[in-house]
Symmetry: C2
């Protein structure tokens, strides 16, 4: 069970740090990766930071060129270093396509995935996740200003993120909530979302989100990407974030 | 320019057929594919059906195990057979992740992609698509009943699909609209969406959607997946669909 395993790792490592594996392609950063280098880049980051991280979140948009064999290798490395993985693909499919996706996610060795509720089929996705024994993180309120259009729209008289939170409770899922969101919205979500659900929090690093999100939700894991993976010293940076997070969560 | 190239192919081949390449993994169908067989399965379908199809739409959830090299090979085959490709990944990312995705989509030889507007950044995605010279198909109203939650929610006083359609016009994009949707909704969308935008229509094959969608929107391409790719005679089936579609569009 993903959520139980994650809780054990958090207790053992005394860390709530998730490292976002987003190796930039050519033209995007000074030290970019090529398709041949993507796997090596990720393996090195895992090797260097795993003392301080419980989760690794490769984004499929960055690692798309990897073959199945390479994805398996990445997850093997993550597991050998006592951590779990989230495939960040923001799955937005239904029916048999949804199932095919989870089939491959599992085969490649990932432990959980991110899901976008845009198609509405949150309950279906929860059932599929359970049948493949995968954890699920549902996008609830993203960190960009335009997230308000859909995530704060009205569905059957409710704010969309309330509608999503209720269904996360129903499927025993987890939420993704950006640290840059407004306090009022965070409080509304926390009044609905069950306290035992994990909240994955992006937006703390480069985006300078609010740290008080870690007080509002008790059961957080904090994703930091660029600030760690493009640092000169990823290990030290990971340790610093681990400690910084600890101050707000204990 | 993707839209111009697609129009030329439609005129040349006298077809509006898009073939959905969704090779089912183990446990999902009797004649499933393994990861080693995914590429061969897709190449064979392209070979057999390309006289009748202008577009191929591999869904990333089914072809996830393919390496970059294999994706390049698939697109090469599609182009050699005078057709274009859509990577159906329902991209739901923002900022640099959105760009990284299009970088790889282009590198792998795809001509266009599907995009989910859940993060709200339709204009940004349109700009990125143009800078990578890729066509974009924006999910506007999906075919499953639960699509209503988000796609018919209210955004700033508008129905969400109206909000999406206006932005598709603004970015010179295209729409994805399911053939199983209600006539009233289709008419509302068609009153907003510019007539020169392509509408990709799933739901005609196995899902038995309404053919009159092809009368409501003038500029359609019709996706058929399982009914063709799992037929005993994919070529004949593709030809039949091509002709059936022609009856409703001419």
């Amino acid at each position: 069970m993903f959520n139980r395993d994650l809780q054990e790792l958090i207790d053992d490592k005394k860390s709530r740090l998730c490292v976002g594996l987003d190796p930039a392609p050519q033209g995007m950063r000074k030290n970019y990766t090529t398709d041949k280098r993507i796997l090596d880049f990720c393996l090195e980051i895992v090797e260097e930071t795993s003392e301080h991280a419980v989760l690794y979140k490769p984004n499929l948009q960055y690692i798309m060129p990897l073959s199945r064999r390479e994805m398996v290798e990445l997850n093997k490395k993550i597991h050998e270093n006592d951590a779990l993985s989230i495939l960040d693909l923001k799955l937005s499919d239904i029916g048999s396509t949804n199932k095919a996706s989870l089939y491959w996610i599992k085969k490649m060795g990932f432990d959980s995935f991110t899901y976008s509720p845009f198609p509405g089929n949150i309950i279906e996705t929860g059932k599929n996740a359970r049948s493949y024994d995968l954890g699920v993180f549902v996008l609830t309120l993203m960190s960009n200003p335009e997230a308000r259009y859909f995530m704060k729209s009205k569905i059957d008289g409710k704010i969309a993120y309330e509608f999503i939170s209720e269904r996360i409770n129903e499927i025993d899922g987890n939420a993704v909530i950006g640290a840059t969101c407004e306090r009022e919205d965070l409080l509304r979500i926390s009044s609905i979302l069950r306290g035992d659900r994990f909240v994955l929090v992006p937006g703390i690093g480069v985006q300078k989100g609010r740290m008080d999100i870690l007080k509002i939700f008790k059961n957080t894991v904090v994703n930091v990407g660029r600030s760690i993976i493009y640092s000169e010293r990823p290990e030290e940076e990971a340790e610093e974030y681990k400690e910084k997070i600890k101050k707000f969560t204990s």
